[in-house]
């Protein structure tokens, strides 16, 4: 039974990946990509990696899909007369690349069969040292305590990616405001869903210390709420970056760095966090930064302004 489910997911992934890149229209490709992301999340869950499954569903399928769709809308706005179906350019490189990739998969598959199933040395060390941190989710232990430099630099990568995107879309004319949310149900729906996304994201954040969850997943869910507000016209893209936008944008990096450096003053090693409260504080700050970055990327702007319905 398990084997049947697993092979169904595996075959489905291959089929969906093929559909995503060979789809007749870009829109179809994006939809397939989102479905692929959700199936991938299922696969992660089957493999016993619920943290990855959450991240894949929230970021891989959710936020990435939304960003691709908004990019597609921009494309259509810029070139309304261009056919939505991309020309199928056949590359002579396609076959060699496919063969190379197939042999790579074969080698890795063979290797994976031959590798002993024992957890890696670093993984064992994480389990041995987890109790000292006060956390019970090893993933959060690795991300925030043992290898927190990686996480800190990842947040810097996100900032760099956002600033790079900002450099590109500065000259773009602002997308025209989406239709105002004057449908009678929109206000009521937002009043339910937006607080719910906040609640879920805070739950994910707090749950991260002992079960799957954490700042990245929480940030993605929070960003979904922001995206909803943009789609409903309650938040509008604005130019310029006021302090009220810039501060939360860099808050995660700032709080993380300052706490990590401050520990050096007390004689502790760099980035050795003083306790569980620091983990929560950093995660909360990172969640805000991640969510705002994603929302701004979706809006395609450096700032947001509120629009009263």
């Amino acid at each position: 039974m398990n084997l049947a489910v697993d092979s169904l997911i595996g075959l489905g992934l291959v089929a969906l990946a093929w559909q995503a890149i060979s789809g007749r229209s870009l829109f179809r490709g994006i939809v397939m990509f989102v479905v692929f992301g959700l199936t991938m999340a299922l696969a992660w869950a089957r493999m016993g990696a619920p943290d990855l499954a959450l991240a894949e569903a929230a970021i891989g399928a959710g936020v990435t899909g939304a960003l691709m769709l908004v990019a597609l809308r921009r494309l259509v706005q810029l070139h309304p007369d261009q056919p939505a179906e991309p020309k199928r350019a056949r590359s002579r490189l396609a076959l060699p690349i496919a063969l190379l990739a197939a042999s790579l998969v074969a080698v890795i598959g063979l290797g994976a069969v031959s590798v002993d199933r024992e957890p890696g040395r670093a993984g064992v060390a994480v389990m041995d040292n987890l109790a000292e941190t006060g956390l019970s989710n090893p993933i959060t232990g690795v991300l925030l305590v043992f290898r927190n430099l990686d996480t800190l630099l990842e947040v810097a990568v996100l900032l760099a990616a956002f600033l790079a995107a900002l450099a590109v879309f500065r000259d773009q004319e602002q997308a025209p405001a989406p239709p105002r949310g004057d449908l009678p149900l929109v206000g009521a729906l937002l009043a339910i869903i937006v607080p719910l996304t906040i609640l879920v994201s805070v739950h994910l954040l707090l749950a991260g210390s002992h079960e799957p969850g954490g700042a990245f997943q929480a940030g993605a869910v929070l960003a979904a709420g922001g995206v909803l507000l943009i789609l409903a016209g309650r938040l509008q893209p604005a130019s310029g970056m006021p302090l009220a936008t810039a501060l939360p944008l860099v808050l995660g990096l700032l709080v993380f760095s300052v706490i990590g450096l401050a520990m050096m003053l007390t004689g502790a090693p760099l980035l050795a966090l003083p306790g569980l409260w620091a983990v929560y504080l950093i995660e909360a700050a990172m969640m805000i930064s991640i969510a705002l970055t994603l929302v701004l990327l979706f809006a395609g702007a450096s700032g947001l302004r509120r629009e009263r319905p």
Partner: protein, 482 residues
């Protein structure tokens, strides 16, 4: 003290980038200076320790291996840190005139610039395979953002192409890291060197990682993205990208090859990598000869000069090691000088088409002088730094009786002389009719000075070779020459 200095190298620019977005605009210039100027000072205590003990090691967050991440600085990483500090200060001098921090353009530019600096520093410090991946991402994305700060469509297109290829390369590298972790359960580069035995899976991992890195380092024939990206980026960005950003990927390849995969029998692969270098030297030089724009000549010259860094694999001796390390630094300085001067010329003429440069030596004497000085080092004339690098390469090839490589190195120098003299001849060519009455905006003297100082450093490196070579020798992992 050393630990604080190491932390400062990464966190000073990182915090600076954050604060730039927050502080009022009139403080931004001061903030940039406050971040960039102390960087060379931070290197002093680290240099002192490396000089005495050959390496500095520090467990980030205090977790021992294999649990945590370790920073490790030896002479090679130190040399690159010094190069980067130099570039940040002097190229930064030009960038300050080109992108004044108080303007909106400056606000787009400087946070990315500082993030790039933090990324390069974190990369050079790190001894952890996965951490290296994260830092590579930071370096790549910040670099791409900086290319995109130029508002020309060609630059945006080049940035996009660079982005796609670099992301694919990152994935290849990451896949390799995953395979290595599955095999030995540690991510530390040096520990992996002790634990990893040659085999199908480790070899696949190595091939994947090195392929990815060679894409990022634009080694022939994976260089296709580089000329457009470096040739169309704003002047100071081209300088930093060509002088250090592509080199750090090669640096990781060296680390993987000579430390993690130390002692693996791979003679065919050594030769193959060397041949890639040969292809880079010949192809890059040939294309540099036929370019129509100054910055494209310099960009193709980067493709060619990067090829020398691959010769270390087939030669694999202490001399070749010193040669490659020295060439890396001297090329970095000379190339930065060339791009800074070219950026000034482009900004003042509005074009860098070679046929429009005639008579430029009279109108922009300082920038043309910089071009000439940097060219001297790049084509390897004594007593410049470039000469020492190429001379050591020749010596290393001579020592092993590798006549083919000797001929290649000599030919590469000749070709470099050809394409660089072509530029100099064109700029100093005076047609009888003085038809160049086109407007000319004098570049800010600080920008010209920045290029000149870099070029002088590239020449002066030739006089300061002894301590650098001694230190480099201390970092040689000691692979016996075949």
């Amino acid at each position: 003290m050393t630990e604080a200095a190491l932390a400062g190298l990464v966190f000073l620019p990182l915090l600076g980038a954050c604060l730039l977005l927050l502080v009022p605009r009139q403080w931004r210039t001061a903030l940039v200076l406050l971040v960039v100027v102390p960087l060379p000072v931070l290197l002093l205590p680290i240099t002192a320790v490396v000089w005495q003990q050959q390496a500095v090691q520090m467990a980030v967050a205090g977790h021992a291996l294999p649990l945590g991440i370790v920073w490790r600085v030896d002479a090679l990483s130190l040399l690159l840190l010094w190069l980067n500090a130099f570039l940040l200060v002097f190229v930064g001098l030009q960038a300050l005139t080109r992108f004044p921090p108080a303007t909106p353009a400056g606000l787009r530019f400087w946070p990315l610039w500082l993030l790039l600096a933090a990324g390069i520093h974190a990369l050079l410090l790190s001894a952890d395979l996965f951490n290296l991946y994260v830092t590579l991402e930071l370096v790549t994305l910040a670099g791409i953002g900086l290319i995109a700060t130029s508002n020309r469509p060609a630059a945006l297109q080049a940035a996009m192409r660079y982005l796609l290829l670099a992301l694919m390369a990152s994935l290849l590298y990451l896949l390799g890291v995953g395979l290595i972790y599955a095999e030995i359960g540690t991510l530390d580069l040096y520990e992996a060197g002790n634990l990893l035995e040659p085999g199908l899976l480790p070899a696949t991992a190595m091939v994947l990682m090195i392929t990815g890195l060679l894409v990022k380092a634009a080694i022939f024939p994976l260089h296709a993205w580089l000329p457009a990206a470096h040739g169309n980026a704003p002047g100071p960005v081209s300088a930093l990208l060509s002088a250090i950003v592509v080199k750090v990927s090669i640096y990781i390849v060296w680390r993987l090859w000579f430390w993690t995969a130390e002692g693996w029998p791979m003679p065919a692969l050594e030769l193959f990598l060397g041949l890639l270098g040969a292809g880079a030297i010949l192809y890059g030089s040939a294309l540099a000869l036929v370019q129509k724009r100054l910055k494209m000549v310099i960009a193709y010259s980067t493709v060619a000069q990067l090829g020398y860094l691959m010769l270390i694999f087939p030669l694999a001796s202490l001399l070749a090691w010193q040669a490659a390390g020295f060439h890396l630094v001297s090329h970095g300085l000379a190339k930065a000088a060339l791009f800074v001067a070219a950026g000034n010329i482009l900004a003042s003429l509005g074009t860098d088409r070679l046929r429009r440069l005639a008579g430029l030596d009279q109108r922009l004497p300082l920038d043309v002088f910089t071009l000439a000085l940097a060219s001297v080092s790049l084509m390897g004339l004594p007593p410049s730094g470039g000469f020492i690098g190429k001379w050591l390469f020749l010596q290393a090839a001579w020592e092993q009786g590798a006549w083919g490589w000797m001929a290649l190195i000599a030919l590469g120098g000749l070709l470099a002389a050809a394409y660089l003299f072509r530029i100099l001849a064109l700029t100093c060519f005076h047609p009888r009719s003085h038809g160049h009455s086109s407007r000319l905006r004098e570049p800010p003297s600080r920008a010209s000075l920045a290029g000149l100082l870099l070029a002088l450093a590239a020449i002066g490196l030739g006089f300061a070779s002894a301590p650098i070579l001694t230190m480099l020798a201390s970092a040689w992992p000691g692979v016996i020459a075949p």
